[in-house]
């Protein structure tokens, strides 16, 4: 019987965040940050976007993307400071994960408001 640790679950969150942000964020940024504003691709209308966001499944996917990407960032940033710059302080840990929780809450609030 293998002893239960929390680390595998935390790593799965971290890993899922890495995969999702690497797969989806670049295409979203390319579309909404560059291609639509520069007119390379005709953007969907505001009403159409709102209708897509009105679907709870869309909002759930976006919330998952935001939460997992933030968890990934928090863990990576904390360890970059810890392993790379040898900065270890409980405050750094609290700020990193706290920022991820705050960002997740903000994402949830905005997604709730928009539709």
């Amino acid at each position: 019987m293998v002893r239960q640790h929390s680390e595998p679950y935390l790593w799965l969150l971290f890993s899922a965040g890495g995969v999702l942000s690497a797969m989806l964020m670049p295409s979203l940024l390319l579309l909404f940050g560059i291609a639509f504003p520069l007119g390379w691709v005709r953007p969907p209308t505001h009403e159409r976007m709102l209708a897509v966001l009105a679907n709870p499944l869309t909002r759930l996917v976006f919330l998952g993307l935001c939460v997992l990407s933030l968890v990934h960032w928090a863990h990576r940033f904390r360890h970059t400071l810890h392993d790379g710059l040898r900065l270890a302080h409980p405050m750094i840990t609290a700020l990193c994960y706290g920022a991820a929780v705050a960002g997740s809450a903000l994402a949830a609030y905005l997604l709730w408001q928009v539709a």
């Binding site: 293998v2 002893r3 595998p8 810890h82 392993d83 790379g84 040898r86």
Partner: protein, 246 residues
């Protein structure tokens, strides 16, 4: 190109000095000389008391690893001319206790290595008369990359996690565990899992990736660790949902 180059070599003689100092030697710098040739020149012609390890001088034995200008390198595969005009700073491998001059104590690595059972484990050995354990080329490809490890410990010198937490089992031990886990003839994955799935096993790794960057044999220990993290995470989730086994 200059025909000579300066080596700044770390010296530590515990009977004489409490801390390491640097001695400077000027050595010839032909284009085919490596750092180890320079050290051998010092030992043979200038200062016979210089202590360092080496054996094969062809990147196979893994004993001549040292820090060259702050980077972990096999000194038999690191050309002096690439550092011209110098000087070149040669130090013992980082993250290990120094025994003397450029020699480090590798006991910690050797003790950790055996805990992952880096050999083929069988629940039951076949009798000799039953013949060989056959393996297809595809099955060999699964682990071949990890079998290239020469235990040179450059990855330990490069790993900041090992530097901060000496209990961390380290990149080469995990890569070698994977070498046997992925071998179709092996049946020892469960035993290795007990060691690897601890905090000091794979979870200590924060995927800095320096181990893979410095590996002279392109083993990719960081990749081995991440692959095993997925295996271990899936095993943990399975054990949580099916505590009595599937």
């Amino acid at each position: 190109m200059a025909d000579r180059i300066k080596l700044q070599v770390a010296r530590y003689r515990p009977e004489r000095e409490a801390e390491a100092t640097f001695d400077e030697y000027e050595v010839p710098c032909p284009k085919d000389w490596v750092v180890l040739d320079g050290l051998n020149h010092v030992k043979d012609r200038i200062d016979g008391t210089l202590a360092y390890r080496w054996s094969c001088r062809m990147g196979v034995c893994g004993s001549c690893g040292m820090m060259v200008n702050g980077e972990p390198k096999l000194t038999c595969a690191t050309f002096l001319a690439d550092y011209a005009p110098g000087p070149i700073r040669v130090e013992p491998l980082r993250n290990f206790p120094v025994v003397r001059d450029l020699i480090v104590d590798i006991g910690d690595f050797m003790r950790k290595l055996v805990t992952v059972r880096p050999w083929i484990v069988r629940e039951e050995e076949k009798p000799l008369s039953a013949g060989e354990y056959l393996q297809t080329p595809e099955q060999m490809d699964d682990y071949k990359q990890y079998s290239m490890c020469i235990n040179c410990m450059l990855c330990y010198a490069a790993c900041p996690v090992y530097g901060l937490d000496p209990l961390f089992i380290g990149p080469a031990a995990i890569a070698l565990a994977q070498r046997y886990n992925l071998d179709s003839r092996d049946e020892g994955a469960a035993e290795r899992h007990r060691v690897l799935s601890e905090h000091e096993g794979i979870w200590g790794c924060t995927f800095v990736g320096e181990c893979t960057r410095v590996c002279p044999k392109h083993v990719d220990p960081a990749g081995a660790i991440q692959r095993y993290k997925l295996t271990a995470a899936v095993e943990t989730v399975k054990a949580f949902f099916m505590p009595r086994g599937a």
